[in-house]
Amino acid sequence: MKKTYLAIVLTALLAACSTTPTSAPVAEQTPQSAAQPAVVAAAQPIVNGNVSAGLYPAKGVGGALGDRSVFYDFDNYTVKDQYRPMVDAHGGFLLGNKAAKATLQGNCDERGSREYNLALGQRRADSVRKILVAKGVSDNQIETISFGKENPRNPGHDAAAWGENRRTDIVYQGE
């Protein structure tokens, strides 16, 4: 890639030593180089590894096992009692199907720091993981990650949208 340089030539540096500007002496100095990579090259995509087909319960049917999402209050990661049956049902599925793998994906609303929200979303996912592990599910079957506030399900900017976006989704491999 072509590298570009700016040669800076200091011809004279004269500060307030003369009242007649035409008499400015010229002192040549060694040219300096100020490198600046004017060219920016775009990156190639990182290729994802093998994603194998997986085992998962049908979505949207079968009561608690058909649901996938836990919702939270602002800046909070406590799993409310109303979501316990659903999380328990998935724990039972994972216990009974050792080949099944699930990713717990934490999400946040759009307010505040992106990185803090990324960590908060991870903590939300981790709160679900802890319930599953307490039921005996192997850590090898679950991974907790976060999208922070980067992938809002509801793109709105009001309380209803925010409530929908403070969430952990249980996503099975292959799903």
Partner: protein
Amino acid sequence: MKNKFLLQLSLLLLTLLALLVTPLVHAELTLEINVQGAHQTPIAVLPFAREASVGNSVSKVVGADLARSGLFTLVDGSDINPVPSDVSDLKIDTWKTRGASYVVVGNVTEQPNRRFEARFRLLDANTQVSRMSLAFSGSNEQYRLVAHHIADAIFENITGDKGVFSTRIAYITKNGKARSLKVADSDAFNEQTMLTANEPIISPRWSPDGTRMAYVTFELKRPIVVVQVLTTGARKIIANYKGNNSAPAWAPDGKQLAVVLSKDGIAQIYLVTTDGTGVARRLTSSSSIDTEPVFTPDGQFIYFTSDRGGSPQIYRVAVTGGDPQRVTFGSNYCVSPRLSPDGKQLVFVRRDEGAFHVVVQDLGSGQTQVMTESGLDESPTFAPNGRSILYSTQVQDRGILAIVSSDGRIRQKLTTQTGDVYEPVWGPYVQ
């Protein structure tokens, strides 16, 4: 070869655009400045003799830079005829009469291989003293960069602080699902794309020498930390552990990165080497969120965000470890710490009565100053001369960039034609 041709074509188009003084076009940022109560020094940047001969207008870019700083007003000199080449051709009383405190006079000389040299002189219009005489050279395509260096020199001569016109900024744009990591000159011209993906990109951080960028990409459907070389596009994965990998922060020597990993449970701060070798060394050990690390300029401490006290606050810990000390108080939400180049001030985002503001805290006295009046501010970052803060905010539900001077008097907005722009970060001086 095709890329090179496209680059030259785009540079040519950029040159034409500048000649026509056309507003910035689609996908680039548009700048708007608001100055309140700041003293502005009147300066006349006269057209440079023969500058049209190399197909550019160096003097206009110099003038635009100085005006954009908010510290100068331009005294119009576009009607001057003939254009003076140096002080000997100049009737300086004319410019004193027109109200200018300073006059810049200069000339352009063509050089072989489509290069040119621009010489200029800065004069005090009242005393007629020549304050500075300098020359810069560059390729014809680099005329904006040459002009930015001239503006930096004039700015430093008059204000005593280094100029940042020749520095660059990076930011993320989002249109639908497509996110792009972009780099542009500090005046938002010359926008170039480092990466485009249909997954989130966050937390770009310049290496101390400005040649590499660390950032977080979700291209593998989860966050990992990579470092990309600007000139080649080559990328190296720095952290790809189970769970989240995020929040990179360069050590001042460029050899270490602080990153946030959740591989051992919840988000904690680790140190890794930037050459990708070695294992991650855990720096913090809490049962709470520890994230957003940033090194102090001397490399001795790390400031970070933690909710170990029940709400997110900013703490400081020695790079060698030990007990972190809490730094922020007075709100139950203080996040996104960044330090001024001299290490004396902390800028962060604080929630006050439901609104998220950029706040500067003097680390000596502990006094804080709210810098913004908008409500959803994020990602504040100091300019390399410490005179202003670049951050993102929302206007009419769209993400835009904004700049506020350290005294709060000069405000700029940078907006895109469509979509959102966020996660700005100001690049370093390039030696």
